[in-house]
Symmetry: C2
Subunit: 456 residues, 2 copies
């Protein structure tokens, strides 16, 4: 990259920044402060250094309480909401091998899916049936076998979230469907957009009345290896060993922090991420990034001294990953107390360069938010679409609400999602920061808008 | 990320893909093939595995000849254009220390700027003057001192390219200005958008009639450390040792490969990247990514059997980094032979998610390219702006031409740019692939357009 190019590019960039109204100037000041300090990234480093935050773990609660101290030191009004969360613990060793002629052959990288029962202590061993589509299940004889779902994320979809959505059934319903047909265990191909040796966990489920069978994810690399090996030798077996344990549910918390509004304090603009993570990595993108987006957006609001008529509320939801118990408890409390959630925002798509907003509301409200687009385009935020918002805030009920999800670039997301790779080194400070500033600017625009959001 | 969210997001994505004309369908097929195969990434892995490609090095030419074999095996008509390139070689050790009371204290990570003369064999030692702006140069006494330019890239600019452009003068003009004022050496703050311990090199220059003084870049971390240390103790010294050597110029090549057009073969649509890199890393983003973008775009064109009236020409330029000799030689040859470059495209902004195109042409042509925007928006390409294109293609002359530069997301670019971090592990396969597909689609739209590009 050379002088000539740069100087022309500079002219271009400067031209784009020349004309500004006062709203644009305020938004510019938000991005300026955010990018100067990159405070959310520092907090994310601190959060990840405390380890994984699997809901039900002591670590998840301890990390939340640590962040309550940070939030209190910032002068927000914070509180904890008690939430009962499930407690499932991964075993110390998770192993699998291809068994050829009764002997252990290649070792395969696996990990228990969240919520799976354990294998017998000495492991389970069975031959396999490979499944490439749910449509073919009824044609297959799974009796006594390990069902091997090998359904890749479709690489040609531009949205990896769409590819994930199309392939995730093997994870959440794979054990149910296999168990109904007599399978003794399940391995799935990890929901990863690349081929590597890191297995990806995630929640799975059982159905009342069907046998609970152990369910694990193979790394994509090993799923492909196993598939090739099966084609050569359909009679080979898989041995797997997982010692995961279910315990009684435990108490944990949602964290709530408010900046009280000056004119309509009862009207809430909620901004949120979920605080829990999976246990293989430290949940840097999922959803440490979203939680820090939410925190940093309030921090920026306060540090800039921006006025707000409505109350800005941060919520760190506990246990998005394992049944949304935090979101359900919050929604229940909200309903009971007739809280007036005017707007709710969630960031749960990772800490990558933000590209847009997905808006879940009436057509009129969607158009209203779309009208802000010109303010955001200088920052690379251009995709304003009607669509889903976030799993946690959707619990508030979506029919008459304005729910908004931040949509970052997601080409890299499913490489790290739910795996041991989801750590701070996978997050870029500038990219993360752009997300926080975007949420701050969004809240600013929404608060100053005199449209009656959610007035029904 | 949960079922509910995903299923709503799927509906949204499907809706967006519902209505397609045949042009959209062809573009869709380009992205489909690209993302299925990710061939450019495989080539980039191969390229980077061969080592750095500093122009003038045997390695640069050997890697180019290896890629000529690959290109020939694909059935393109390829040729080499001889180019004379400078040969400068970094010394085996580059070291610097803070000297306190005559003794070596903290060691600092430095690297010679490209083109610097060496220090004396035993190193040079002098006290320092810190410079935070070129405006203050005349007020400072640099005589006998090491000039320490410590001008950070401005973090608040959304475009890191803009921030780079504003800070890069310390690298290319720092030695000239310091030498004029009697300095004996120069260290600059690395042009990096983050604070870490990796120094970033890049080309620098001397001016006839001024003393050639050694010039190096400190890692941003050590630039900050040195700045703090100087505030405590302005009399401390810096010792640095670099053994870089200038040799006589050598012969290398540009690589040219054509897919001959069916109707107007004499009209060229040129697509390019530069093949040379800096020597600290393996030039994965700068500009292996751009070179592979260009190659993959032609590969996709051919594999899909897309028709093209005009000739599609790939150029791998040699030596963008050290004086643009490949681009100058190519432009000279083009002029001599009256080649008809209808359109020229360059990718030299890294292999990150593409966001747009920067179009350097007449207003009419800029508007023409902007009219393609709707075809690209489903792929996240939305920034179509008038601006600089690329350093290499600009040598063709820009007044009456249509020159286009690919603009990827650049939040991460200047963390790795010109440093030991610019390796294949910093490149994401999907992100890279999106760039290649975008160039293919762009060539497709330009070729089928019957507008008379560059008809003067």
């Amino acid at each position: 990259m050379k002088k000539l190019f740069i100087s022309l590019f500079m002219l271009l960039s400067m031209a784009g920044q020349a004309q500004m109204d006062s709203t644009s100037e305020t938004i510019r000041s938000i991005y300026n402060l955010a990018l100067s300090e990159q405070q959310g990234y520092k907090w994310l480093e601190e959060l990840c250094s405390m380890g994984p935050r699997l809901s039900g773990s002591d670590q998840a609660t301890a990390s939340l309480l640590h962040f309550k101290e940070i939030i209190d030191s910032l002068g927000f009004e914070s509180s904890l909401q008690a939430v009962t969360v499930p407690k499932w613990v991964r075993g110390p060793q998770e192993k699998a091998w291809i068994i050829r002629d009764g002997k252990k052959s290649e070792e395969l990288a696996i990990t228990a899916l969240g919520g799976s029962v354990a294998t017998p202590e000495k492991g389970m061993e069975a031959s396999l049936v490979e499944i490439s589509s749910f449509d073919e299940l009824d044609k297959l004889d799974l009796k006594g076998k390990i069902a091997f779902y090998n359904i890749p994320m479709e690489p040609t979809y531009i949205s990896t979230g769409f590819a994930y959505g199309n392939a995730v059934k093997q994870r959440w319903a794979g054990a149910i469907e296999a168990s109904k047909r007599g399978a003794v265990g399940v391995v799935i191909r990890s929901l990863s957009s690349s081929v590597n040796k890191y297995p990806h966990t995630g929640s799975m489920s059982y159905e009342a009345g069907t046998e609970k069978i152990p369910a694990a994810a193979l790394s994509t690399y090993h799923a492909e290896l196993l598939s090739r090996a099966l084609k050569q030798n359909p009679t080979l077996k898989l041995k797997m060993n997982m010692a995961c344990v279910w315990y009684d549910s435990v108490e944990s918390y949602n964290l709530i922090a408010d900046l009280i509004g000056s004119e309509r304090p009862e009207e809430l603009i909620l901004v949120s991420g979920h605080f829990d993570s999976w246990d293989l990595g430290t949940g840097a993108h999922d959803d440490g990034a979203g939680a820090m987006h939410a925190l940093e957006s309030l921090y920026l609001y306060k540090k800039l001294g921006l006025q707000h008529k409505r109350t800005l509320r941060l919520v760190f939801y506990m246990n998005e990953e394992f049944g949304l118990s935090g979101a359900k408890a919050y929604a229940k409390m909200s309903k009971k107390n007739s809280l007036k959630h005017v707007i709710a925002i969630e960031s749960d798509g990772g800490g990558f360069t933000p590209k847009g907003l997905s808006i879940q509301s009436t057509k009129e409200m969607v158009e209203r938010v779309k009208s802000y687009r010109d303010y955001f385009e200088p920052y690379g935020i251009y995709q304003f679409a009607s669509g889903g918002s976030g799993a946690d805030i959707s619990q508030l009920g979506s029919d008459d609400k304005l729910l908004i999800g931040l949509r970052p670039d997601n080409h890299r997301y499913f490489e790290v999602h739910h795996s041991a790779l989801d750590n701070i080194d996978a997050v870029n400070a500038r990219e993360l920061t752009m997300g926080s500033a975007t949420l701050t600017a969004l809240m600013y625009l929404l608060d100053r808008d005199d449209v009656c959001f959610n007035c029904n």
